[in-house]
């Protein structure tokens, strides 16, 4: 089993970490260099964790578990206006990132108001491309209950946040409800506010664990990190993508940040050592996000094999 971890340390000798990950059969999901510091998101076989830990100790680095690594979470606000941004939305998105997930902020076009709030098909499809969604609502019970229509038809687990305490039974379409995270006009600094962000991370973790269990019942033909590595090896243009994370992993596939029209044929032809191409084991469609490429790996029940 692969364990998601985050390495923080100096750029000096970090190549040793990369080499070890490769030798152990792990994956490098993300690599962020900030001046003399580097942050690596890694998947490591759990049995070999002690080997990596001893190397990291030698390099005076820091190794922490990143339970949300390899996932994409949408942080959804009713709009992108000053009423909803930047404070709470940015705090939540940034805090989720610290635990390894790739968080995307989405502001709806007409999500405001109690009676007039609405979501359109495009927004719904865009949110459904993620592994989970966090909907940030306000401080009034009546409004939070009234906005259920915004996420009722979302297929991925939805974590709803708001200020007041509301029993979970009153929000049947939400995966979980996290209180004390409503509208505010200052950054989250107090211990109680940080504790509320921790609750959101825990709720997202539970939602993703549930999805992982569902996937385990009918395993994917291959793992998303393996597809990611194959893309990196066989489509060199991906390294020239301007996106900070050219391949974003999902639990059931990945998003390749290259234009669909130009690169979809190349992606379909990606070959594996087992003698199959990506088109045979995955659905390759245009993404709702900037015409990128979405890869959804088919389960064993559809292809008849796992590798």
């Amino acid at each position: 089993m692969l364990e998601p971890v985050m390495f923080k340390g100096g750029v000096y000798k970090h190549d040793l970490v990369l080499e070890l990950v490769e030798d152990l059969g792990g994956y490098v999901l993300q690599r962020n260099v900030t001046q003399a510091e580097i942050i690596l998101l890694l998947l490591i076989p759990s049995n070999d964790m002690t080997t990596l830990e001893s190397l990291v100790k030698e390099l005076r680095g820091e190794l922490t578990r990143a339970p949300l690594a390899g996932t994409e979470v949408a942080v959804v606000t009713p709009t992108l206006a000053i009423h909803h941004l930047p404070h709470v939305a940015c705090d939540v998105a940034e805090y989720l990132r610290r635990f390894g997930t790739k968080s995307n902020m989405i502001g709806m076009a007409r999500g405001v108001g109690k009676k007039i709030a609405q979501i359109n098909e495009f927004e719904m499809d865009l949110i459904n491309e993620h592994d989970a969604a966090v909907f940030l609502f306000g401080n009034f019970i009546d409004c939070i209950l009234g906005k259920e229509k915004l996420y009722r038809n979302i297929e991925v687990p939805v974590i709803v946040t708001g200020g007041p305490e509301i029993p979970k039974e009153d929000l049947p379409y939400a995966f979980e409800y996290v209180s004390t995270v409503g509208r505010q006009a200052h950054r989250s600094r107090k211990a109680s506010e940080i504790a509320s962000l921790d609750k959101i991370v825990a709720a997202v973790g539970r939602a993703l664990d549930g999805m992982r269990k569902e996937i385990e019942m009918d395993p994917l033909t291959t793992s998303p990190p393996r597809v990611m590595n194959a893309v990196r090896e066989q489509i060199p243009d991906i390294e020239r993508s301007f996106s900070p994370l050219p391949i974003a992993l999902n639990l059931n596939g990945c998003r390749i940040k290259l234009p669909y029209d130009e690169y979809s044929r190349e992606v379909e032809k990606i070959a594996f050592d087992e003698g199959v191409t990506l088109a045979e084991i995955a659905r390759i469609t245009p993404s709702k996000m900037k015409n990128y490429i979405v890869v959804r790996i088919l389960p064993m029940s559809e292809t008849g094999f796992v590798f």
């Binding site: 009423h83 401080n139 007041p164």
Partner: protein
């Protein structure tokens, strides 16, 4: 501690929301530097209807900003030197000085130093009317405090204070009267 004399927020059935909107109000007024000019403020909202009303009383009118309020004015060779401490209104100051003394009469040897070629002190020149700026900022603040979905808005402002009403529904005279009545009740309590 509140910087205003009175801050009262009432939202029937939404105690948490009322407490949070009090925080939002104070944060936004502080961000925009408005709390010094407002004495009392009352918010009443009925989320079932829904509408959101804010009533505030000013602490008194603000005097116009003069050159001497912006920094030290001293006599030097060839005129008067203004050492600017409040850079926020630098553009207004330059416009006023250029209009009065012409561009050739105003020299700026450094970012915060102006030398005006004149024999009489420019310290009593009016730079800008802060009252107008304050009211513009106040309207901005009221829009930010109000929940975003309440798109129909009505704003009444006079010398003493302001009354702001926002709703998702059309604002009719009956709704205005009702909101004012609730605010009056809060102010009298």
């Amino acid at each position: 501690m509140d910087t205003l004399e009175v801050v009262a927020v009432e939202v029937p059935g939404e105690d948490y929301g009322a407490e949070k909107y009090r925080e939002i109000l104070l944060d936004i007024l502080q961000d925009l530097g408005l709390y010094k000019s407002i004495g009392r403020i009352y918010i009443y909202s009925d989320i079932k209807r829904p509408y959101f009303a804010i009533y505030g009383l000013f602490r008194g009118s603000l005097p116009p900003l003069k050159v001497r309020d912006m920094g030290d004015v001293t006599q030097v060779d060839g005129g008067y030197q203004i050492q600017v401490e409040e850079e926020q209104h630098m553009d207004d100051l330059l416009k006023v000085l250029w209009a009065k003394y012409g561009r050739e009469g105003v020299d700026q040897p450094d970012r915060d130093i102006l030398i005006v070629a004149t024999e009489s002190s420019p310290e009593d020149l009016v730079v800008t009317d802060i009252e107008v700026e304050f009211r513009q900022d106040l309207v901005d603040a009221l829009g930010r405090i109000t929940p975003e979905g309440f798109r129909n808005r009505r704003n009444e402002m006079n010398e003493e204070g302001f009354f702001f009403l926002a709703s998702e529904e059309t604002i009719v005279p009956k709704l205005i009267d009702e909101a004012k009545e609730q605010i009056r009740r809060m102010a009298d309590a």
